[in-house]
Each structure stands twice: as structure tokens, then as C-alpha cells.
């Protein structure tokens, strides 16, 4: 009984002392917070239109409306016996639907790797000017139906500099490991 009284007395004293602890730990503090962000939109979808007649293949690459801007390059394979020559074909100047009248004409330019590089950026909803691929040295006894020219074209998303301007087509290293390249093969005849 006596112990119980002592315990209650100690407890009462402790409770009275802890009343002051709250005020001893109180400091002036405040805080604020804020957040924000944006949703990224990536991805592109392109298709190639090919027409083959008179031993010449005409290529036009089209980008779907909601695609992001891409660079384009293409080349054709026809075997060593039948070399191909390239030339610019019909001019559409419709790489960027947002620009009504493109100031300069997009052209296909060769590089040492055998690819022809389109000189302008292809935006969503746009299409390249025509690339003509002419097959040379075709023997008289070979018909167009027997012949096969394979076209490969590649696209890669446009890269931006820190000031927001896009890298030029010539500034892109297509072989860089960090560059994502979409490759499409095909083109019978």
C-alpha cells in the first residue's frame, strides 16, 4: 500500500514536469511546397510509297499526322550487276504542314555510307520530296516482273540543342549508340 502511494506521487510529479516539455521544444518553423510537370509525347509512324516503272523506282516517305519530327535516310539494293543511280524527283515541299510555303527545297544528298539523306526534317503530317532510283545495265531479256530492288529507309527522332533549335541533318551521327533508328526494309520489284 505504501509503495503504491509512492508510485502515484512520483507519477504525479512526472506529469507535472512534462507539462513544461512542450513549450521547451517549440520553435518557430514554417514550410511551403510546390510541384509541376509536363507529359511527354514521343513516337512516330512513317510509311513509304513506291512506284516502279521503266526501270525506275520512285519513293516518297510520309509521316502520320500525330508523329513527332524525324530525320530520314534511304538507299536501294539491286545487286552488283545492276547498279542504281539516284536523283531528285517531284517536288512537293510538304515536310511541315505548319509551314504553308517552305522556303527551300528538300533534296536527297548522298554520303559515303551509300545512304541518301533527306535534307529537311520531316514533321507529323508531312511528306518528303520524291527520290528516284534508276536501275542501270538491265539486259534485254529481263522483265520488270523478274526484277527485285529492295529499298531500306530509316528514321530517327529529331534531337534538340540546349537552345531549343534542332540539330541539322548533317550534325546527326546515325551510328551513335544512343540514337534510336527505325529501319524499314522491303520494296519488291
Amino acid at each position: 500500500m505504501k509503495k503504491k502511494h509512492i508510485f502515484l506521487a512520483v507519477l504525479a510529479v512526472s506529469l507535472i514536469m512534462t507539462v513544461s516539455v512542450g513549450s521547451a521544444w517549440a520553435y518557430f518553423t514554417t514550410y511551403v511546397e510546390a510541384q509541376g510537370g509536363y507529359t511527354l509525347s514521343l513516337g512516330d509512324e512513317t510509311t513509304i510509297e513506291e512506284n516502279f516503272s521503266s526501270w525506275m523506282k520512285s519513293l516518297v516517305i510520309t509521316s502520320e499526322a500525330d508523329s513527332k519530327p524525324v530525320y530520314v535516310r534511304a538507299r536501294a539494293f539491286s545487286g552488283d550487276l545492276y547498279p542504281v543511280t539516284y536523283s531528285d524527283g517531284e517536288v512537293f515541299n510538304q515536310e511541315n504542314p505548319a509551314v504553308e510555303d517552305d522556303q527551300e527545297r528538300g533534296v536527297w544528298t548522298p554520303k559515303a555510307d551509300g545512304y541518301y539523306y533527306y535534307s529537311k526534317i520531316l514533321y507529323g503530317g508531312g511528306k518528303t520530296n520524291e527520290l528516284q532510283v534508276k536501275i542501270e545495265n538491265v539486259p534485254q531479256d529481263v522483265t520488270e516482273k523478274e526484277f527485285n530492288v529492295v529499298v531500306v529507309y530509316e528514321t530517327t527522332p529529331v534531337q534538340y540543342k540546349e537552345d531549343g533549335t534542332p540539330y541539322g541533318v548533317d550534325e546527326i551521327n546515325w551510328n551513335a549508340a544512343e540514337l534510336e533508328v527505325d529501319r524499314v526494309e522491303g520494296g519488291g520489284r
Partner: protein, 270 residues
């Protein structure tokens, strides 16, 4: 009974009763005096200056000519001791109307802190960077995506101590997702810190993080590429804490759980 009558009749008793009467009379006047003092002391109490702490996060983007207030939280004794607060959104001025985000571009994103209270203070900032599900409606909660790299959200720190500046990076508390900064100087009332960030860039590498699916049809081989970061939202979050300058070391330990040393107003991490 006889003794009581004798006691009451004695001169001593009369003197004692008289003395008591005078004493009671004097004490009664003291009460009146105290009441008068209490009345005047209330007038004096209204003149006591209270300590109000307050802090504001400032942002300057490409659109802003000068830093603008994003979020603030000030204690106000003039409005019955309530908090005057406002929580805004970051990055609202980052893109123009109809402008799309360009990976690789550096956008101006200057963040700083202002002391909007009337006592000096020490300041800490915690920055969080992460990816969440995109295209959510307002009020709809977007889940955090943990397998995408927060390191590709490049919020450039400036004025850090290793650049000769005032902001200390707490390496022990920082990760790829979180950066904790302490302003090493005492921030006087009304003053603004130097900026702790200057630009924001989403790394170009996001365009190379893809999953590919190859299909063949009619002699054509088509590769469909799905971008891992397509349709996701990057998120920047800044939390600012402020604490009184008085007894700062104990206050910071108590409020933020971090041991620091303060010498001549300069804060260093232990």
C-alpha cells in the same frame, strides 16, 4: 466562559482588534491599486511585438521578367494568429501557348527562397524528381513510375558550395530522386536567397529508350517502336523548410532531425 469574557474585556484584545482593522483597511486599498494596474497593463500588452515566421518559394521561368511567388506560408498575428498561405504550381511558365516540350532543350527554371516573415531564419530545400503516369485529369491521382530514371530530369543546381556559393548539398540525404540543400547563410527578414537552380532539361536519351516489335508482311519488314517515356509525365517538387535563427542548432535538430553547427551566422553540416 468566564475566561472568554475576561479576554474580550482586556485592553490587549482591543488593541489587537484595532490593529487588525487597520491592516484590513490597508489590504483593501491594495486590491484596488492592483485592479487599476491590471487595467493599464492591458494597454501595454497590445504593444508587444510578436515574432512572425514566413517563407515563400520564388520561380523565374522564360516567361517571367522577374521572380514570381509560387507558394507561401506566413504566420500572421494581425489576423488572429492564423497562417497566411498559398500553394501554387511549378513550371507553369515553362512552355508557350501550343508549344511542345523539346527533349534536349534547356528551359529557364530559376528557383529561390524569400524570407517573408519578420524574424531571421535558416532555410532548407528538398527537391524531388520523378516520373508519373501522364494525361491525368485534374484531381485524378497519377501513380509514380519507379522503373524510369529520374536522373534524366536534369534540374541544374547553381550556387552550391563546390561552385563557391551558399547552398550546401546534403550528400547523405540525397539520392537520384531527391536532393537536399541547406542555405548556409542566415536569411534576414525580407531577404531572398541566391537561386539554387537555373535550368531544366529532359535528356535527349529518352528518345533512345524503346521497345521494338518486328513484323513481316508481303515481303516488307516493319519495325514498330514503342518509346518507354512516351505518355509519361515528369514531375518536379520543391519543399522549403524554414526555422528561427535563435538557438538555431537545437531548433534545426528538433525540427529537421539534422545536426548542424552555426558559427557567426554560418551554417555547416556535421
Amino acid at each position: 466562559m468566564k475566561r472568554l469574557k475576561e479576554f474580550m474585556k482586556s485592553p490587549k484584545t482591543t488593541m489587537i482588534a484595532f490593529g487588525l482593522a487597520i491592516a484590513l483597511l490597508l489590504f483593501s486599498s491594495i486590491g484596488g491599486t492592483r485592479a487599476a494596474l491590471t487595467y493599464f497593463s492591458e494597454t501595454y500588452a497590445s504593444r508587444v511585438q510578436m515574432s512572425n515566421i514566413g517563407v515563400t518559394l520564388l520561380e523565374k521561368s522564360d516567361k517571367d521578367e522577374k521572380a514570381r511567388e509560387v507558394s507561401k506560408r506566413d504566420y500572421s498575428d494581425s489576423s488572429n494568429g492564423t497562417w497566411s498561405e498559398n500553394t501554387g504550381k511549378l513550371l507553369e511558365g515553362m512552355l508557350g501557348d501550343g508549344e511542345e516540350l523539346k527533349p534536349g532543350k534547356k528551359y529557364n527554371e530559376e528557383l529561390s527562397v524569400q524570407n517573408t516573415g519578420d524574424i531571421d531564419q535558416y532555410v532548407r530545400v528538398s527537391i524531388y524528381k520523378y516520373w508519373v503516369e501522364g494525361n491525368k485529369e485534374d484531381g485524378e491521382e497519377a501513380e509514380k513510375i519507379r522503373n524510369l530514371d529520374p536522373g534524366l530530369i536534369e534540374l541544374n543546381l547553381v550556387n552550391t558550395s563546390d561552385q563557391g556559393g551558399e547552398w550546401l548539398v546534403d550528400g547523405d540525404a540525397s539520392t537520384k530522386e531527391r536532393t537536399v540543400l541547406y542555405y548556409s547563410r542566415l536569411l534576414p527578414a525580407g531577404s531572398t536567397t541566391t537561386p539554387f537552380t537555373d535550368t531544366l532539361k529532359i535528356n535527349n536519351i529518352i528518345a533512345s529508350k524503346v521497345t521494338q516489335e518486328v513484323t513481316e508482311k508481303d515481303g516488307y519488314k516493319t519495325i514498330k517502336t514503342t518509346y518507354d517515356y512516351d505518355g509519361v509525365q515528369f514531375c518536379i517538387e520543391a519543399n522549403v523548410d524554414a526555422v528561427q535563427d535563435h538557438n538555431a542548432e537545437d531548433a534545426i535538430w528538433s525540427a529537421w532531425g539534422r545536426r548542424v553547427t552555426v558559427n557567426d551566422g554560418i551554417l555547416s553540416l556535421n
